[in-house]
């Protein structure tokens, strides 16, 4: 039996692990080595320079600025996305009609559920092009709308203003993400046994009370996992930025520079693949720390049901 068990484990792990080691681990291991060299990226030659790149990185102002933007993205985008998604899910799933808490959503929920998921099926490249145009100060939809509404004084060169470019990018990321988490949370809410809501209603709890003291704790698990997904998505926001704001320096006055863009610039524009790899490794470490931190910090508040 024991022998059979290990043979089974080995059998199940062999193929996926082999794939993973060959295509994922080995390239990254090599990238880690490259981060300790001065490789320029185009020849087979490089010199080993130990932690030289990391020492330079520690005092590189542009790297830390980009890191700061990443931090801001990590803080704002998941938070706003989750709040929006929770709110939308709550009112279309458990808010009930005419105050009947816990039984179905408000009128039109069915329609909303279809529409809200739309952005999720829009490829990132398309979203980038679309919103690059949406924010066009001259012919874009946003300023056009503001003018139509007589709010012409609110028009801005959105992607050209250092104060607004990053928030604009965040808005697009949020726009694209809410749908998925909305559906995820709705489902989680639907799986909460209806009796729990019944009891709350009988106790005279209003919708807000019910949400805070019943719905949210019941689905906390989903919320926690969502934060990690969103964090990873945000760190991978390179593709969107690359299409929306194709600027090596990272937006107006460097105000939207994120680490992955700086990595790209160091590698492909400045020809410093060794340094770029060091940036990548640093980014990995930060992401890992973040994942661990989120898991640790939110663990205590889990509610079992």
């Amino acid at each position: 039996m024991r022998y059979g068990k290990y043979r089974f484990i080995a059998g199940f792990l062999a193929v996926p692990l082999a794939l993973y080691i060959v295509f994922v681990v080995s390239p990254y291991a090599q990238a880690f080595y490259i981060s300790m060299t001065d490789w320029r990226g185009f020849s087979g030659q490089q010199n080993f320079i130990g932690f030289g790149n990391y020492i330079e990185l520690a005092t590189d102002g542009r790297f830390w600025r980009a890191m700061g933007h990443n931090g801001l993205l990590l803080l704002v985008v998941p938070l706003v996305t989750i709040v929006f998604a929770l709110f939308l899910a709550a009112v279309t799933t458990v808010a009930g009609r005419q105050g009947a808490v816990g039984r179905g959503g408000v009128r039109g929920s069915r329609f909303y559920q279809v529409v809200f998921f739309f952005p999720q099926v829009v490829p990132v490249v398309i979203a980038g092009v679309l919103f690059g145009f949406f924010f066009n100060p001259d012919a874009g939809l946003l300023n056009g709308l503001l003018r139509v509404l007589g709010l012409g004084w609110l028009t801005r060169p959105w992607l050209g203003d250092p104060a607004l470019a990053l928030p604009s990018v965040m808005a697009v990321l949020i726009w694209g993400a809410v749908g998925f988490y909305y559906v995820l949370f709705s489902s989680a809410m639907k799986s909460v046994p209806p009796d729990v809501f019944e009891a709350a209603v009988l106790d005279g709890a209003g919708r807000l009370r019910t949400f805070w003291s019943i719905t949210l704790p019941m689905i906390w698990d989903s919320v926690q996992v969502s934060y990690i997904y969103l964090g990873i998505m945000v760190l991978d926001g390179f593709a969107l930025l690359q299409v929306m704001l194709p600027v090596p320096g990272g937006g107006p006055d460097g105000s939207t520079a994120v680490v992955s863009q700086y990595l790209y610039e160091s590698a492909f524009i400045n020809g410093r693949f060794g340094y770029a790899s060091a940036i990548g490794v640093a980014l990995c470490l930060v992401t890992l720390l973040l994942a661990v931190a989120v898991l640790r910090l939110t663990r205590r508040q889990q509610t079992e049901y």
Binding site: G4, Y6, F8, G11, F12, P16, L19, Y20, V22, F23, V24, P27, L88, V91, T92, T93, G99, V101, R103, G104, G105, R110, Q113, V114, F116, F117, F118, P119, V121, P123, V124, V125, I126, V129, F133, A139, L141, G144, V148, W175, V183, L184, S186, S187, K190, S191, P193, G206, R207, L208, S222, F238, V259, S260, L263, Y264, S277, V281, C284, L288
Partner: protein, 306 residues
């Protein structure tokens, strides 16, 4: 529950007893104070729906305009519907071919990664063995790597295996890169499944793999569907991996084709064809979603209960 109309195909036992909606609403009057909240709620829902839909509708309209119309009046309808834009986009960007390429590569990858990922996750979730923690964290760490750090070494790995520019090469790479997420999610999922059933089956003489394929995998279907959808969307959007591994423009996947279309705008402006291309790429996906949205949402719903 109004939404209960969409009864999930694989309903877990605790969710199957739904109560009929009560029509006499005793609490109605007591809760009139929440009317303002109601107005606010409906307002917010409507605004969000508009925010979601308008850019897409606008993209479709724009795809029918001439270049000068695009720049002069973002809000007006096209004076004449320019179907030629679509012809130009179709011919210059080969959207159709790329679409099929994407479909092949992504579908096979998703099936493969779901199978392999579940196998790993199952073993990690249900068995004790030395090295389990190392393997689990090696996969979790894989989610955090920025992909283009690995691009150049990866290119050589694929080339040395003679898989450069092939579908199977790209499929294997996609599978490998989707594994961390799948393993992470499915491990959590398998941990929550009841073990009684598996133990009973083992007593009945079922083998380890028999238990997995006949009992655990069907039980995990909800989780498989939701992770599968997430993987599908993620790989459908993947752009850096094919850029380096699929250098032959006949084999481009859709995201590459679109990126080329967008990049070309930097050198020769043809806005209307760009938008037409985007719409061609977008509509089939949107249509598939609308047709299957109920199933997708059900898949996600059941997957959310952990």
């Amino acid at each position: 529950m109004t939404l209960g109309t969409s009864a999930p195909a694989t309903t877990p036992p605790d969710r199957s007893q739904r109560r009929p909606r009560r029509h006499d609403d005793a609490h109605h009057k007591a809760l009139t104070g929440e009317r303002t909240l109601n107005v606010f709620t409906h307002g917010f829902l409507a605004v969000w729906a508009i925010l979601v839909a308008v850019p897409l509708i606008w993209a479709v309209l724009t795809a029918f305009k001439t270049d000068s119309e695009i720049f002069s009046s973002p809000w007006s309808l096209p004076a004449q519907w320019q179907f030629g834009n679509f012809v130009r986009a179709w011919t210059t960007a080969s959207i159709g071919t790329y679409f099929v390429n994407s479909l092949i590569v992504v579908s096979v990858s998703v099936v493969l990664v779901m199978l392999l990922g579940s196998m790993v996750a199952y073993v990690l979730a249900r068995y004790e063995f030395p090295g389990r923690g190392v393997i689990y964290y090696a996969f979790v760490a894989g989610m955090t790597f920025p992909i283009f750090l690995a691009l150049v070494p990866l290119f050589f790995v694929v080339q040395n295996l003679g898989m450069l520019g092939t579908y199977h090469g790209l499929i294997l790479v996609y599978t490998a890169y989707a594994l961390p997420f799948t393993v992470f999610f499915m491990t959590g999922f398998f941990r929550t499944l009841p073990s009684a059933l598996a133990e009973a089956a083992m007593l009945d003489g079922c083998s380890h793999s028999g238990v997995f394929f006949r009992i655990m995998l069907p039980l995990a279907r909800p989780g498989l569907i939701s992770v599968g959808i997430f993987n599908f969307l993620g790989l459908w959007n993947q752009y850096l991996l094919p850029l380096v591994l699929m250098p032959d423009s006949d084999h481009y996947v859709l995201s590459q084709g679109l990126a080329v279309l967008a990049a070309n705008q930097g050198y020769r402006s043809d806005w209307s064809a760009l938008f037409a291309g985007l719409v061609i790429a977008l509509l089939p996906v949107l249509a598939v979603y609308v047709v299957f949205q109920r199933r997708i949402q059900e898949g996600l719903s059941v997957g959310a209960i952990k």
